[in-house]
């Protein structure tokens, strides 16, 4: 654009005012003007707060006063204290397991809807997504009811005689957390995979068969690589938010299922150590982003090998 205005002014020195008018009416100006309210809102209530969190993580707190000298002490605590180390590692492992399980379980569903959904694709998608739109808190509560000592699963199994005393291993551990989270994120994983499968040109698969691939080979060499962008965004959309989940570990996790969010929340409640809470938040974000990055790379590598 800058190049253009310059040449215009040179060519037609009599018309410079029009150039300005022509820019204000341009795509760029209109687009920026239109998006600015939303953008400013997001900057004020999303970007700035996150910046403050980052800033706080380098400060220290002494009762109610904040000491604004730069320090890495909070990060030493966050990364050095065994309790936070444990929580971080457990959160990451759980979110990784949840995302792998969710994506693996969801892929066939997305594939089924995309390839065999027929004229009812939208109805299928709707059916799959409805449960995920209902209250998250209520769904977690429901799992607690299902998995509890005197819960649905135990009483149900008891009444049909499969077990003779209630299982205690169902609730209040990381397995319960994983099951609940997988249930919560299913639709979020299916949607992006479905979208990318829809974009796969069906004649490419026919071409692969025509060129001698069997069904499995054509899936591995054509369908899967082409749907990879969907798999990756499904992976990210599940993994990153779950790492900081608060409700599920709190309700069904018990002692073994506590995750980092509980520790973060504690710093803003009675414990009241904002800088440490901030450092824990930043650490979580950075580590989960890095891990997501590695996982994405690994996934790409895996598919490349399959080809």
């Amino acid at each position: 654009m800058a190049v253009l205005s310059a040449t215009e002014v040179e060519q037609r020195p009599t018309h410079p005012p029009k150039n300005k008018a022509r820019w204000t009416a341009s795509e760029e100006a209109s687009g920026l003007a239109l998006i600015s309210p939303t953008l400013l809102y997001a900057v004020a209530l999303l970007f700035l707060p996150i910046l403050i969190v980052v800033a706080y993580s380098f400060w220290t707190q002494d009762y109610l006063t904040i000491d604004r000298t730069f320090t890495l002490q909070n990060y030493k605590t966050a990364l050095g204290e065994p309790i936070y180390q444990d929580l971080l590692v457990r959160s990451l492992v759980i979110s990784l397991v949840v995302s792998v399980v969710t994506v693996t379980l969801s892929y066939p569903i997305a594939w089924f809807i995309s390839f065999h959904g027929g004229v009812h694709k939208n109805l299928w998608l709707f059916l799959i997504t409805v449960p995920c739109w209902t209250s998250y808190l209520l769904r977690v509560m429901s799992w607690k009811v299902i998995l509890g000592y005197g819960g649905v699963m135990n009483t149900g199994l008891l009444s049909i005689g499969i077990i003779d005393k209630p299982l205690t291993s169902l609730l209040y551990n990381s397995n319960a957390v994983v099951i609940t989270l997988v249930h919560s994120w299913a639709a979020f994983a299916i949607l992006p995979i479905f979208v990318s499968l829809e974009k796969v040109d069906r004649s490419l698969i026919e071409a692969a068969h025509d060129l001698g691939d069997n069904k499995l080979m054509s899936f591995l060499r054509v369908t899967l690589p082409l749907s990879l962008p969907g798999v990756i965004s499904a992976f990210l959309i599940v993994m990153i938010p779950t790492v900081g989940d608060y409700v599920t570990p709190k309700l069904v996790g018990g002692k073994d299922g506590v995750m980092i969010a509980t520790a973060i929340q504690a710093q803003f409640g009675k414990g009241a150590n904002w800088p440490l809470g901030a450092a824990l938040s930043v650490t979580t974000m950075v580590i989960v982003s890095a891990m997501a990055g590695i996982a994405v790379l690994a996934l790409k590598l895996l598919v490349r090998m399959a080809k």
Binding site: M1, V3, L4, T7, E8, Q11, R12, H15, K18, A21, R22, A25
Partner: protein, 362 residues
């Protein structure tokens, strides 16, 4: 050309970044003229049309409609109306409401508005479908709604952006006839953008052929087809046999050349002609070469051998190798006399009229 043109386009340039969509375009279009902008996609024809409508603003230059400069005038205050490529029928309104859309701004009384809408719909023979919605209409019907919606505004100029490209072949040909008679009936200037040479030839009073943002030639359909000025234009408007010829003489308007097989001829010199190393490109249309049967004689003859044959129903294309010519000649012959039965490999004699030869700029 009448005294005051309806549309004057003067030295218009349009840049997108460093890309030049329109390159020094100047053009006059007369009142009541059916004018076509013809060219391949990306040649700038749509940008030029949209600049006249007001959706694109030229980077430099001027556009005048009926003597008034319209630079800076928004589309809603220009005396032009447009038929969009996809027709842009408002999906939330029925046919009558679509046609009445622009009239609402004019604050006519209810009966006056209804009369005008009804007349416009009758004009495009859609009077019976007034209550239909866009998604209940066929492609041809949508096109008529778009036409009625624009014409009801009584514009000075009607702009048509590839209006027939979305229709199938048969319907397209029907609509061409109808479009031409509609223009005659309403008598206003029509500017049609198309990439279909036959459409442009069949409909227009004059055609501007555009390549790469520039106007290559402006002329009547017959002149454009028979006397293209450049090889590119000749090639774009149907096929042509090209050959190199040596220039033996040159005046301001005429060119004498010596060709390998067509002998020495003197031709009109195309506008802006530049000789290259004393040679010129000469062309002849395939249908201007005729097969001579049995012992028929012609003043100008060529002898050759059929090397290939393509059947097209009413015509056959014969590819004839003429000794001494770089390229075999393509001959288009009607099948009335059995051109489709000439075996490949047979010797044939071809007749031609030296007037059919044209000199071309490269």
């Amino acid at each position: 050309m009448p005294e005051t043109p309806m549309i004057t386009i003067e030295a218009v340039n349009k840049f997108y970044g460093i890309y030049k969509a329109l390159d020094d375009v100047s053009l006059d279009i007369a009142a009541g003229e059916f004018f076509s902008l013809l060219g391949p996609s990306g040649c700038g024809k749509t940008t030029l049309l949209r600049s006249i409508a007001g959706f694109d603003t030229p980077s430099t230059g001027d556009i005048r409609i009926d003597g008034q400069s319209v630079i800076g005038t928004p589309p809603n205050r220009r005396p032009t109306n447009m038929v969009f490529q996809n027709y842009a029928i408002f999906p939330h309104l029925d046919v009558e409401e679509n046609v009445a859309y622009g009239l609402k701004r004019l604050k006519l009384d209810a009966s006056g508005e209804r009369r005008r809408v009804g007349a416009a719909l009758d004009q495009v023979r859609l009077g019976h479908l007034g209550k239909r919605r866009a998604h209940e209409l066929s492609g041809g019907q949508r096109q008529r709604v778009a036409l009625a919606r624009a014409l009801v505004m009584r514009p000075k100029v009607l702009l048509l952006d590839e209006p027939l490209s979305a229709l199938d072949k048969k319907l397209r040909e029907e609509m061409q006839v109808e479009l031409r008679s509609l223009q005659k009936a309403v008598g206003i200037t029509f500017i049609l953008v198309t990439h279909d040479q036959y459409e442009a030839l069949a409909l227009s009073d004059r055609i501007a052929v555009m390549f790469g943002g520039r106007i290559a030639q402006v002329a009547t359909p017959k002149e454009i087809y028979q006397r293209p000025t450049t090889r590119q234009i000749a090639d774009f408007l149907g096929g042509m046999n090209f050959m190199k010829a040596r220039i033996t003489g040159e005046t301001a308007t005429r060119l004498s050349v010596e060709t390998p097989r067509f002998g020495g001829v003197t031709l009109d010199k195309p506008l802006g002609f530049n000789a290259r190393n004393g040679t010129a490109t000469i062309g002849i249309r395939p249908e201007r070469l005729r097969v001579l049967w049995d012992d028929a004689k012609a003043d100008f003859e060529l002898a050759g051998r059929v090397v290939d044959r393509h059947y097209f129903g009413e015509i056959t294309h014969l590819i004839v190798d003429v000794p001494g010519m770089e390229q075999p000649l393509s001959v288009s012959e009607t099948n009335n006399f059995g051109a489709d039965d000439i075996p490949v490999g047979d010797a044939v004699r071809l007749a031609y009229d030296p007037d059919a030869l044209v000199a071309l700029s490269d």
